[in-house]
């Protein structure tokens, strides 16, 4: 049967492609040889060079020696938790938000731009005034109730469904307590069906004056469930996740890993994925909306020792094989900066709209 032959062939190709990855269970000899040839501090590849610089620097250190790190144990086992606190000056200006919302008649069902225009011409300036309108009275009542006392999710959905304004959607965040924000980012060994090696979550105090990053690190692949458990202990129904591209990557990735471990992860907190708002703001102005591009062009941040995601598996593998924590250092640091600057991002983008 050709089909079988063909599939064998296909399988073979895949096998050989897979064996070209150093982190596959059986990397091919050529892959290992290539890795050796290009290795060491003399490598032409700046990323490999960087890895060896870190390995030199950290060769005698242990993860527990890192500042703020401690070994924790939860239901799912032991893992490493790294905590760091720093100052921040965070605030979201919520002035006029409610007033602005109330001016948007389109938030009411069955009111589109045309009807809104007509109503405004008739003198209905805001939703409050519609309480006197025979037809829209009840809708207005409901909408006001939602805006004034409804759960955040409902207000957001009201805005999302009835108004096309990304700005207004983000402005909804102004309603929230600062200490409910969970700025989150993960590092993984690939795009799907592979372990998460690091989950970082940053939280602020009520006043927005300090921000604490907590990172859970996979010291060994057996700890993944403990890492996820550690992260989930930060999340409850009142949390608001803030990520960059988390809606399509980080959150489903964590869900898949929970699914893999048959872990019941019912809690799905409200989520602001800043990439949507970044696209609305800068899509036409920047070559792309990657986080690093925006950092560079908009916020003028140039990060040293940035490791692209595609190199993280290689770095992690070196750590496992050599027992040298060096390669993890830039990953941890990078992740920490990411989650802390997500807070800055949220604030700046909030202001831009």
């Amino acid at each position: 049967m050709t089909s079988k032959k063909y599939e064998n062939h296909e399988k073979d190709m895949l096998k050989s492609i897979l064996s070209q990855s150093l982190t596959s269970a059986k990397p091919s000899d050529e892959t290992i040889a290539k890795a050796h040839e290009n290795s060491g501090i003399n490598s032409d590849d700046p990323l490999i060079k960087l890895k060896y610089i870190y390995m030199d620097k950290y060769q005698d250190q242990k993860l527990e020696d890192l500042e703020g790190s401690e070994i924790i144990e939860n239901e799912s086992g032991e893992t490493l938790k790294i905590t760091k606190k720093e100052k921040i000056d965070f605030s979201l200006d919520k002035q006029d938000f409610e007033k602005n919302l109330l001016c948007d008649l389109k938030l009411l069902p069955k009111i589109g731009p045309a009807t809104e225009k007509k109503l405004k011409e008739e003198g209905y300036e805001d939703i409050n005034s519609l309480l006197n309108h025979e037809k829209y009275k009840e809708f207005a009542e409901m909408t006001i109730e939602t805006i004034e006392s409804g759960p955040h999710r409902d207000i957001f959905n009201l805005v999302r469904k009835n108004s096309n304004s990304k700005g207004k959607m983000l402005k909804c965040a102004g309603e929230l307590e600062y200490d409910s924000f969970k700025f989150m980012d993960i590092e993984t060994l690939g795009l799907s069906n592979v372990p998460i090696i690091l989950i970082g979550v940053a939280e602020m105090d009520k006043k927005g004056k300090s921000i604490t990053s907590t990172q859970y690190l996979l010291r060994d692949k057996v700890e993944e469930l403990a890492v996820i458990d550690g992260y989930l202990s930060h999340i409850d129904d009142n949390s608001t996740l803030v990520t960059y591209n988390g809606a399509s990557f980080d959150v489903p990735f964590i869900n898949n890993r929970c699914n893999y471990y048959q872990l019941n992860n019912e809690c799905q907190p409200f989520h602001y994925d800043l990439i949507y708002y970044a696209r609305a703001l800068w899509k036409d102005k920047l070559p792309n909306c990657k986080l690093s591009t925006i950092e560079k062009h908009i916020f003028n941040i140039n990060r040293a020792d940035n490791i692209p995601g595609s190199h993280i598996p290689g770095y992690y593998d070196t750590y496992l094989k050599e027992g040298n924590i060096g390669p993890l250092i830039p990953i941890i640091e990078h992740n920490r900066q990411d989650i802390v600057s997500l807070a800055q991002f949220l604030m700046r983008m909030y202001e831009k709209f």
């Binding site: 049967m1 050709t2 089909s3 079988k4 063909y6 599939e7 064998n8 296909e10 399988k11 073979d12 895949l14 096998k15 897979l18 990855s21 982190t23 596959s24 269970a25 059986k26 000899d29 239901e75 799912s76 086992g77 032991e78 060994l189 690939g190 799907s192 069906n193 592979v194 372990p195 060994d220 692949k221 057996v222 700890e223 993944e224 469930l225 403990a226 869900n255 898949n256 699914n259 893999y260 471990y261 048959q262 598996p313």
Partner: protein, 1010 residues
Amino acid sequence: MDILAIDKFKNDIRFRHKIAHIETLKGNEAIYGNINNLNSKISNYLQNKEIKLYKHQTIAYNKIKNEKNIIITTPTASGKTLAFNLPIFENMLKNKSITAMYIYPAKALSNDQLKVLKDFEKDLDLTIKPATYDGDTPKNKKYGIRQNSRIILTNPYQIHHILSWHHQWKRFYSNLKYIVIDEAHTYKGVFGSNVAFLIRRLKRIAKFYGSNPQFILSSATLANPKELANKLVGENFHLIDKDTSPHGEKDFIFYNPFYKNVKKNTTTGNNNSNSNNNRNNKKINHIITNNKLEKNKDLQDKFIKDVIANNNNGDEGTKITDGLSIHQETEIIFLYLLLKDIQTLCFTVSRKLAELIAMWTKKDMKQYKRPLADKITAYRAGYLASERRNIEEGLKNREYLGVTCTNALELGINIGSLDAVIISGYPGTMISTWQQAGRAGREKQKSLVILLAFENQLDQYFMKNPEFFFDKPHENAIVDLNNDIISTSHILCAANEFPITKEEAEEIFDFKNNRLDNLVKNGELLKNKKEQYIYPYDDEASFKHSLDQLSNDSFKVIATEKNNINTIYRNPSEGKLLETIERRQVYKEAHEGAVLINKGETYIVDSVNLEAKYVNVYKEAVDYHTIVLKDVDIKIKSKIKRERIGDFTVNFGELEVSEDFHEYKKMNFSKSIGSFALDLPPLRFNTKGIWFTIPIEIKDTLEDEFEENNVFAGGLHGVEHALIGLFPLHVMCDQFDIGGLSTNYHQDTQEATIFIYDAYEGGIGICEKALEVFDQLVQSTKSLIDTCLCESGCPSCIYSPKCGNENKPLHKDVTSHILNYIESEVSVIERKNTLDNIHKSENYKHYDKNMKEEYVNNNEPTNNFLYEKKVKNNIKLDENHTNTNSIYNKNKSIHKNKATTNVENNTNNDYITENNLKNKVKNKNNVHNKLQEALKLFKEKNYTFAKDILINILDTDKDNSDAWYLLGAILNDQGDSKGAIKFLRKALIVDPANEKVHELISILKIENRI
């Protein structure tokens, strides 16, 4: 077509004498059934299409409705598909979310079925969106299929890889209600065993998402359909095997070109009446013959005369009559039928032959009836899809009259039914033969099937024993759930899908003891705090485990031009990848100097790189082939079962096989044109197999009777070949799936022994099944030898094409004598005696613990296959060691006599291996040695094996007090003091002075106050 033309062949004087048997299969009227409360949409559909349901379809419908797992084994074209599509679609009409998975062994089949399902969907006005999901599915379609399709058609290879992406299939798995496995008989051997584990993985995922699918299997007729279904799925099944669809009469003709080799032409009463009928038919035929037909007949006669005239007729001594090759003979019959306007499908054993026979027939047809030449074509895998569809359609509307093909057409592809089928060479299984034969036959007309026999054992067996073929199904499809390599592979894949727990591993995969923890030790799995075992690598486990092969130990065959060979030796990537083959196959067929055949082209193996696993070949047309010679050495590692069949004992257990491929020969047809040494390390593997011994008295008798050399060895060797040759009759496998060894003396049994083993690491269940059907196997083999007319052995009886010893020595008469002996022992009705009772009280199904551990320890992951010469030497030393007394010196308990073994090299009667030659020990103190062995095993607490040996001793020597004593001691150690006392008393009866016995009895009395 002239209806009566179909009967002409069997009466034609030019063919008649080669017909070994004609079985006329009676036509059947349809039996219809009724279904109550059928959904109106469905009953309207049936009415519109004028479909009346057959009874077996309604039975299947009801069983499925009652949520029973079923397996349907009615023949091709009996409406199996409709039988299960009806209830599935009906349930889908009612329940809007349920889904179903249809599994086919090949992609072509799922495409065919997709069309059927889409039509059904359209006719019922239902939204199911059936879709194939396999390697050909465009990437951009996949998401939509996962989200929306309610029926997925796929194959095991695809499932193997998509299972770990189950999170993308949440909707599908959560609602999975039916799993249909079509052509279930194709899931046997290594592939089938892999699929059985794959289904268990699939069920585990379905369970996680909250569904518990029902299974519907369809299969060709088998001896063990329920067992197969049960092993594949792990659940109980209801069998539906009674065909109630109508079909016309069919003549099934066994045609033997080697007819001169057959003792008697089986003519049954049934046949006589047939020929009477035929005579009548002939008369009618003459009456209705018109001019045109008359003209045709002339043409045909001219053609046949031409053929015969062109061939040498002075071949009285040779076996093939008329000097025709079997393939030319096939062509003549094919042409004969086509000239009679009989639409014929001709199955051949290879693609090349399909092409050749079509080409010859076209060419010859041009001389007789030119317009028909364009109605002849070959059809095979490798043709473009459009070409194939064109031929399929052409067969349906009779644009094609004659098609040659390989078994690509055997599985359910829809080409309608034809007038006649020629099967040139037994396709290897009766299932395939019946499936191919099923292509002929229309509802109302008579049809014809002609099976042409080749010279080998199986083909000739059927020619001489047609009743075996037409009797009940004999073939058992084997699925082995005990192969450690396969179960380990699937445990790793399953852990990659979800972390696995100890309970699951044991419950679902029968993965027991500390095997999971051993995988953790080897770094293949990790265990976390929640006792979950996880797959820690970031690749896909499924890619590392093929469903077709046991090991990953495969070699790449790289082809290039001859003058370029040095380049690819240095840099294999510059050559063309021809195929990948397993190590064992490299040793057998692709060693240095071998002629390797790939898609009909011959290649010469230039070199084999054992480290980098490359075989470098270049294309060259040569007129010779190569055969490899090997020495086999076997050690018994443990005995799992000991089966008494009548008075004959057959053992089943774990064997360590070492095959040393030391030489190859270049052969021009059957003449050797040179021998060449090979330098390959022996291939060593652990497997499972059966063995039995032939007592020394038989040897003595036979050596007295026949005065030649190597008489006994030749007989044993013949028995081994003939048994292996007929294995596939009872256990579905290829001859090449098993290996054998026969020896005048084997150190582990200390007797003349024949071994037959599964040629796969870990065993694949073939020999285990053979143990169950051993008596039938012996019967068939005996009848094969008895009916073969040759003088001193031929490929139809005791010659084996794959013999590693050049079919030497072989002795046909002695083979026959030994088989007679085995047969007479096997057919003795089981005697009731104490020994058998002892035997039955033991549970042989479980390995002894000690043995098991020993096995695991030996099974080091590294170098399992390569058995370096150095190691070999060590083993030899080891063996000598065990044959000396040093081990036993300390043991004074029983043996008051000196423990002496006479070790002497006996060079006379060895023929198998150099190793054996050295180990050949003629043991005069046989019983004594056995007793020592038993004692040693007893001391190692290896009771099962020790008991076996003791029973064996008592079999021949009932008055062995020490053996009775030791049995008592074993039972005592095992806590059965009553049984112990019983045996100790026997020991005392035999030898009242045995002090040891008195001692143990008094201890027992004190302990138990007996």
